[in-house]
Every structure is written in C-alpha cells, then in structure tokens.
C-alpha cells in the first residue's frame, strides 16, 4: 500500500477512535508530524456520499452520520435539551454579533436578559467569555465556541443561516442612533441639543418597564 494510503488509513482510524473533534495540529502531532491536510480532504471526499461523513467544524474535524439519515437514528430517550425562547434568542445574538456584551444583547432584545440565560449557554459549552471590551466599565464580552459550530453543523460562523443578507441589510450593525437620524433625514432636522445627548437607546427604558 502506498504511503498516502497509509496516512489515510491512519487518519481514518484516529478520527474514528477520537472522543472529541481534532484539529489539524492535533492530528498531525498524533501521526508523527505528518502533513494531514491533503489526506483530510481526500478522506472527506471519500466519505461524502456515504452514511458517515467527515466534517470540519470550527477548524476541528470529526466523523458524524449523514444528516439525511437522521430519521433512522434519532433517539427518543436522550433528546437534546430544549432551550428556552430567551436562550435561543441570546444564542443567535451572540453568534451573529459576536463578540457582544450583555448590554448589547439586551439592547437588541429590548428586555433584560436573566443571568441564568447566559449561564445555560455557557454551561452547554456553546458560548464562552471572550475577554472584556476596552471601554469604560470593561464589560465582559461573549462569543461562540467550537462546540457551538459542531452542534449546529457549521464549519465557521460565515455559514450561519442568512448572515450575509442580514449584514447587507444593516441588521447586524451596532445599535446606533446616528443611523436613525440619518434615516429621518432633512425633513426632520435634528434638534440642536439632540446631537449632544449621549446616545440613548429606547432599549434600556424598555428594560425598566419589563422587569
């Protein structure tokens, strides 16, 4: 058997046996510093039409069953824990806007986000603390994890459904009053003092109402 075939077999065995997705670096280290990139692609092609696929999620590789066979495999007993509506919203906001602070999440949702909601996502391993934003108050900012990508079958965040359209429509821009004033345009000249007013979002006021 050729050397490439041997590398392919070794990769296949390693990825089959691995208990967690593996990065190119981990695989390479495990296989004696071999260059595994080409072999990974070859293996991926080989498995593409099969019942088991080799997929890349957040720069980590793993085998998983083909999505079209889900009906055969769904296990009634251990269902994926259902997220609350609030948690799914927060998760989507973190994914589409990352990194975001809690205040930014709340500005988009218009309601206060319970501490527990973020905790659930942190515990699920889908969201992580990604440092602090270097602004006054240094708020903690959140981002998604490799497990998030793996769970939702995304290679990168670029594959988030509809993200390009949302970005093009300006719906992922930072919340900004200037934008509103722009939109209001010349018919409605901004009042003098308004420019000096620190940008107040309607959000925070709503929050007070909603708690």
């Amino acid at each position: 058997m050729s050397q490439e075939d041997e590398l392919l077999r070794a990769l296949e065995a390693t990825l089959f046996a691995a208990e967690a997705p593996m990065s190119v670096e981990q695989l390479s280290r495990h296989l004696g510093e071999a260059d595994v990139r080409a072999a990974l692609r070859a293996l991926q092609d080989h498995y593409a039409p099969r019942g088991v696929n080799l997929v890349e999620r957040g720069r980590r590789w793993h085998f998983e069953t083909a999505p079209d066979l889900a009906h055969l495999l769904r296990r009634e007993k251990e269902e994926v824990r259902r997220l609350s509506r609030a948690a799914t919203e927060v998760l989507a906001i973190v994914a589409y806007h990352e990194p975001v602070s809690r205040a930014e999440i709340e500005a988009i949702r218009g309601v206060q986000t319970a501490k527990g909601t973020l905790d659930v996502l942190l515990e699920a391993g889908w969201v992580r603390v990604a440092g602090r934003r270097e602004v006054p108050g240094r708020p903690v900012i959140y981002a998604t994890t490799a497990e998030f990508l793996a769970h939702f079958g995304l290679q990168t965040l670029k594959e988030l459904p509809g993200i390009d359209e949302l970005r093009a429509a300006g719906l992922l821009d930072p919340v900004d009053d200037a934008m509103i004033e722009d939109a209001l345009g010349p018919e409605n000249p901004p009042v003098a003092e308004e420019g000096d007013r620190p940008a107040t979002e309607p959000g925070p006021n709503d929050d007070r109402l909603s708690t």
Partner: protein, 285 residues
Amino acid sequence: MAHEPVPAGPSAQEGARPSDPGIALGEAEAVWEAVSPAEQRKQALYLEIDGWEGPLDLLLDLARRQKVDLRRISILELVDAYLDYIDQAGEMRLELAADYLVMAAWLAYLKSALLLPKEEQPDPSPEELALRLQLRLQRLGAMREAAARLMARDRLGRDVFTRGAPEGLRVERLHRWQCSWFDLVRAYGEVKLRSQPVVHMVRERMVMTLDSAIARVSSMVGVAIDWMELREFVPPSQEAWSHPQLRKSALASSFVAALELAKAGKVEIVQDTAFGPLQVRALRA
C-alpha cells in the same frame, strides 16, 4: 421583516416546524418547547379590540410597515386586553408577558405621541420613535428568525451523531525521573538530622560577668589619679584573656560597669567627641 418559512431540513422536528410562517415570534416560539401550535396560539396575546383583531406582534409588524393606522387603534382597549392577558397568564411565561408589555407600551406611547398636534409633540419626535421601534423590531425579528433557523439545523446529538462507542485516543505519559547524587546524599543527611535525638545544650560562653567588671573597674578607678580610658580596664591580652570573644565581652562589661558606677555617683565619664575614647575617673567628693 422577511418572513420566509424556516427551511425545515429533512430532519427538522415537528416542533421546529414553523406553525405560522407569517409571524416571526411564532417561529421562534415553535422551537421554544414541545408545545402544540394550538397551545402556542393560546399563549400569544390575541387582541380583539376596536380596529384590530389578531396577535399583538403582528399588529406591531404591520404598524411598522404602515399597513395599519395606529391612530385607529383604541389604546384603552389595548391596555385592557393586555391586563386581561396578564391576569390569565398566571402560570404562563412571565418573560413572554414582559415582552408584550414592552410592545404594548411602545404602541401606546407611539400612538399618544402621534395624536398630539405637531408643535406639542415630544422630543424625540414620534416619527423618530417610530423609526427606532421599527429598527429595533427588525433587528430583534431578524435574530428570532435566525434563532429559529439555527435550531432547525441538523444538530449534533439530535439529527447527526458522532461515533457511539469511540475507542478513544490515549496519550500515556511516561515519566523519566531525575535525581542527582547530591540530592540523594543531602536527602539522607536531612533524614538523619531530623531523626537524631535533639539535645539542646547551652554552651558555656566566655564572658566577663558584670559583677566582676564592676569590682575590677571600681578597684582600678580607686587607685588611679587621672582619667583612664575604658579600654584600660580590660585585662591584659594574655593566656585566657587573649580570646577575642572574651575581650569583647570584657570591654562591654567594663562599659556597663562604668555606667553603673557613674549612676551610683562613684565615677564620672567623659567623651570628647562622638565615638571618641571614653574616659573614666573616680568622683572625688
């Protein structure tokens, strides 16, 4: 707001299928929990008020797109409907009620602002507020829809599965232990030291006691006529007295003896300069 139906993958769950593709909230609801569409409709705030019949969020959506004239909506009835809703919402999600409160409050505020004559309209203007609300709802709607689409994807552990019984990759760490000869020998020394019976002995120190110093100084001062330097009280450096430690002790004791005698009014002490020689002589009455 784009109301394209959630692309239900071949594996999307019954719960994940949008119950009412016209309402963004409804879509998000669908993946919220395993509740039937009928139950969801019961949970949503359904308004039957003058000028509007339908869910509140749809009203907002339409108001935003100017498909419905807010001026025709009765705020009083809106508030009543909301309060009724809250009343019977007893065991329902408080979170949901809060969201509706936000929306209802906005609607009410928006409408009251719009009803005011132009010059009395508050600042920011109702148009601006409406635009803000519109943007906010758009953004939130986009995120709710995105969340629904995300939840409907082929999810690991629900639709696709990793290997059920992976062998696992183990990295076995072998330790190559290191220890030097010196460490070994020193360790033994320490053990020995620790385990030796500990005997505390106070060694006899070579000192001149204060008593003997007082006796010596007073007798020497008594016979001297003139000033004597402190060092002269120290016994001559020979035989036992040659030991430097003893000499130091003798000097110190002589100094203290001189001070004691001065205190008793028997001698006087003079020092011309700081750190200069100390001179002692008997105090003559």
